[in-house]
Symmetry: C2
Subunit: 500 residues, 2 copies
């Protein structure tokens, strides 16, 4: 670059705030493709789109996050000219509740909508944890019919398959808050008493560690507590042996064929009316899934799903990717959760004063995209740049633009080089853009009414050795000269050869 | 709804902050379609997508708005945990400048990107003016080649046609800051002196009123000033008669065939080196456009384009829709501008200290969508809701879900009614959703292995009269019973009959 005009310290730094990121082109395209396919499935199920504003009154958002691990979840807030506090939305559910409450009478009931968009959290960022990220939600509001829950699970399974996650690489896992409450009741813990909140959370957290510490570890956490390898001690829930056994039997119930799981659950909640209700809801979901042909290879009932149980009021869902991949520590592990949801009745009630039943599912878009990347299914793998028309004579740009136009008219992405540099930087540019081929029309070619097309994929190696125009003209690696009228056809052949 | 649980004053109000809005489903779909088509054109020209974060450091955004009518344009700002000020982006250009400066070495040069997304302005909202709105930008950074400017105009024209604005319904208008500067110079006003800023702005504002007040009005505003019908007086630029004549000749130069406009301009900037440069840039753009086959029916050179001239440093572009429509006051008027842009060299320089030439174009997405709506080309006109499978027996939901599944497997948007209400509300629901038809399988039909399909478009009137199941069963308006195995085919026939 030319010499600087201002001293360094007078200039702002080109940088992003912590936890923010720019999404590069391949990912924008891959996300667009992925979100489009999910949208297609959701539309097929009769869900309709909605877009709410990014900014809401802080009061309207409230604080309802399903993820209990982040109790201090913060929002970005500022005041309007009247001093009222506004916030950036931290999820898509709270704005939905506001929207439904505001438009209740005009909406069809049940109201079924999907929405995708950025949400913001004023939290400590970390690896893979950003302050702005995209969610893709679907919700059915205004019915307590578990058919709505079953359908959302089917739809999520269909969406995963539509984007390229194959059957067997994922599992939708369903649990039910009421069933857990029933088990707690059977185990002697009142599930609805405020006095038990802390103990209940400790129990949930213990169950959530099944994957990590196994049944023996959970047993310790449900009882007196557990010391880890470093010697650090985690307090337990302080339950007695009989209670612990009931809870362990629950979380380790087989999550294979849904009928077997339902039978195992049935025994553990005998005597709890709330538990019976929950089990009946799961049985209803099972019947729906079975009728529609969704077996346990796609959707299981799984008592070890704990996440969000404290937040949701009935069925909860989790989409888990079951294929193995390397985690952040380089260990081989299941990919894990890419979305979750469930039934919640309190959100709209905040505004209207009466319970409005609702159920929904939210996809963590970045995480799902990472999974597609791990599977090589983002579609970005096949992406290529535009065909580049080289500028051989700067006084004759119209000629090259006309060639680029012809290619575009045939539906081929193409550009004339619009910089001002010479041959070598132009070839470098084509390389950087991932161009499949370049179009060359020097004076000789123009006189003959021809163009030369260089296949950059076939010619990649040879191109590295070329340093000047003379060598180029002699060598002509992986290139072909055709009459100008045949250019489009010749380029199409090269593209076909390279694969779509 | 059931009785309320909380007193009114304990509940938050379900409402949006001023200037915010929810986008309903038809518009979300129509926008998606429109943006997808624009994206397709931009990709065809070799532009690649980028998505930057919504939040930037306030310092990095600076204050660079092309619209001089809103000097107090505000942003939404808040502080991070270290006390640094962050803001929501107010356009997509300032973040692009930050991105380019931050990644300069890694980017191909020229760098060509498009981006679409929300921007936020903390300004007084009004009719049609929101605090959150969507822009669609394309920019070429790192070249002063006017081929890049020409291409952006061609691309914008192609994009308008791709979304359904026909040739003749729009015009891309090009002007050049340097040409105006040359005319000012010829008229005796130093275009680069800071001492003249106020007078120059008054001149620009006067020229901008050509549409409204005609040449006679502009003449007054360039001279002593103008009194309007209410008696209010607007101060003029105080120019002498000779200067006024030059400026009037300039803004009223014919904006038809580009060659004629260029000839008229040439006479007015004789003697100004800066003006000559600008005219040469326009001539270069004209040559490119002509070679690529873009005539004056699509792209004109138009000296009356003033908007943004104070901000841009070379060519400026405006996309005008020329068809007539009713404006907010109910008067018939041209639809007007839906986008604008031009060449600006200062933005990246803020960070890196050296000028980085750039040119770009920004579409006001909501405004363009309004235009499509006025033209009946949003695609929402042909939209319809999902086929609804009615629930006749609540204990047999699996059966209905299976029917809905079958339709979806054939690519037909379909849902089983997931509410809990009876026949009449279900029919109302289908109506509200815009369902093309409903599927009915009562006990009799099930016994015979049949389904009944009711065409809601054909049967719209008859349906209103139906109050109970008995009347329904007798009347059977616009409905057909077919074996279950023929359901998909029969629905496809109804959809085809209704038109896609």
């Amino acid at each position: 670059m030319a010499k600087r005009e201002k001293p360094d310290d007078a200039r702002p730094k080109a940088r992003l705030p912590k936890g923010m990121r720019d999404v590069p082109s391949a990912e924008v395209r891959g996300l667009e493709r992925m979100l489009g396919k999910i949208r297609g499935v959701y539309e097929l199920y009769g869900f309709e789109p909605l877009a709410t504003s990014a900014i809401e009154f802080t009061e309207a958002l409230g604080k309802f996050l399903p993820d209990q691990d982040r109790p201090n979840a913060g929002v970005f807030s500022f005041q309007d000219e009247d001093g009222e506090w506004m916030s950036l939305r931290y999820d898509l559910t709270a704005p939905l509740a506001r929207f439904v409450a505001e438009n209740y009478d005009a909406l069809p009931k049940p109201y079924r909508r999907y929405q995708t968009g950025s949400v913001w959290r004023n939290e400590k960022p970390g690896p893979g944890r950003f302050r702005e990220f995209v969610q893709f939600d679907c919700d059915t509001v205004g019915t307590d019919n578990v058919a709505a829950d079953a359908e959302i699970c089917m739809m999520a399974a269909d969406a995963l398959e539509a984007i390229g996650v194959e059957r067997g690489q994922y599992r939708m896992r369903i649990n039910n808050r009421k069933v857990l409450d029933g088990v707690l009741e059977t185990a002697g813990i009142d599930p609805l008493s405020d006095a038990n909140t802390k103990q209940r959370l400790t129990v949930l957290r213990a169950i959530d560690k099944l994957d990590k510490f196994g049944p023996a570890g959970v047993e310790l956490l449900l009882g007196k507590g557990r010391k880890d390898e470093s010697g650090a001690f985690t307090d337990g829930a302080g339950l007695g042996a009989a209670s612990i056994k009931i809870l362990l039997d629950y979380v380790t119930a087989p999550a294979g064929e849904r009928g077997a799981t339902l039978a195992a659950i049935g025994k553990l909640i005998a005597g709890s009316e709330r538990g019976r209700q929950g089990a009946e809801e799961l049985a209803g979901i099972d019947r729906m899934l079975t009728s529609a042909g969704y077996g346990a290879a796609r959707i299981t009932i799984d008592p070890s799903v704990v996440r969000g149980l404290e937040y949701y009021t009935g069925p909860v869902f989790e989409a888990e990717l079951t294929f193995e991949t390397k985690n952040e520590e380089g260990e081989t592990a299941r990919f894990g959760s890419v979305g979750g949801g469930g039934r919640y009745d309190g959100l709209v009630a905040r505004f209207v004063g009466t319970p409005v039943p609702a159920t929904g599912f939210s996809i963590g878009v970045s995480r799902l995209y990472s999974a597609l990347k791990a599977l090589g299914k983002t579609g970005a793998e096949a992406a290529r740049g535009p065909v580049l028309v080289l500028v051989m004579d700067k006084t004759d740009l119209g000629t090259y633009q006309a060639l680029a136009s012809k290619l575009r008219q045939a539906g081929i992405a193409a550009e004339m080089y619009v910089g001002t540099s010479g041959m070598k930087p132009q070839m470098k540019y084509a390389d950087k853009r991932g161009s499949p081929c370049v179009i060359i029309q020097g004076g000789d070619e123009k006189a003959k009414g021809e163009v030369t097309i260089k296949d950059l994929v076939a010619g990649a190696k040879a191109a590295e050795a070329i340093t000047d125009r003379a060598a180029w003209t002699e060598g002509r690696p992986a290139q072909v000269s055709v009459p100008e009228g045949d250019m489009v056809k010749a380029v199409q052949e090269i593209l076909a050869r390279q694969g779509a």
